[in-house]
Symmetry: C2
Subunit: 122 residues, 2 copies
Amino acid sequence: MGTIDIDGNRQEATCKQELIAMRDSLEILGGKWKLMLLRYLSNRLEEKNNFKKIQREIEGLSAKMLAKELKDLELNLLVSRSVVNTKPVTVEYRITPYGLNVLPLSENLVQWGLDHRAQIKR
Amino acid sequence: MGTIDIDGNRQEATCKQELIAMRDSLEILGGKWKLMLLRYLSNRLEEKNNFKKIQREIEGLSAKMLAKELKDLELNLLVSRSVVNTKPVTVEYRITPYGLNVLPLSENLVQWGLDHRAQIKR
DNA sequence: GTAACCGGTAACCTACAGGAAACTATCATC
DNA sequence: GATGATAGTTTCCTGTAGGTTACCGGTTAC
């Protein structure tokens, strides 16, 4: 029945889990291009987003990084990849319904960044 | 009166600014210890948070990194540093009122991390 | 047959983040 | 005058994120 020890441990565990969760988020979303890709895809739900098209439209993004970031996002179920039987073969990337959950977070980051820039200018 | 060109440019600029703002946020808050430090300080508003005390209580955090992260946070007005005339001299770090604005964002990251861990387990 | 498109991969390189350990300087205590 | 506390700094080292360039295998169009 909740000795100080047990409560202490439980609270500490929860706190550690929170920190782990926070690092998870930063690790999974924190690459140079990941959030940018998710925002890009979320703005183009109706389009066919092929590998080359994405690379062409996001300036500075190399094939290697694009492939890697997309793989990471796919592993985390945030993006889906499907090969289409066109000639030559094309691959379509889409943000998943689950991936759309990242958008509020991304909006918060944008907002904080904008506010902060204003704050620092003072 | 809003030609296509003007609207197009305005929208593009806004979009770019959003991406810049997002990267700003990740850069400023994205170090290994920064958000952790802010959470730590926000949980100890009543205490005197000296350098050594912080270092002792956050496991794995070296003096070098602590000094660096605190400096960065101070530059961004998120943390305040004040030297106290004790013997030997002590330094008190506090999260600023402005710094408290980061907490909702941090909570969102924690929540997303927790949710995501649950999602991946399935 | 050769040039151009697709979706990548492989090899190499650099810069920076971050860790470990030793060191500095000041003051207090014993 | 040695020990230990304060708050850092300095030096050295390593791992990795990310960029550059070249390349591959398949298909179509000229």
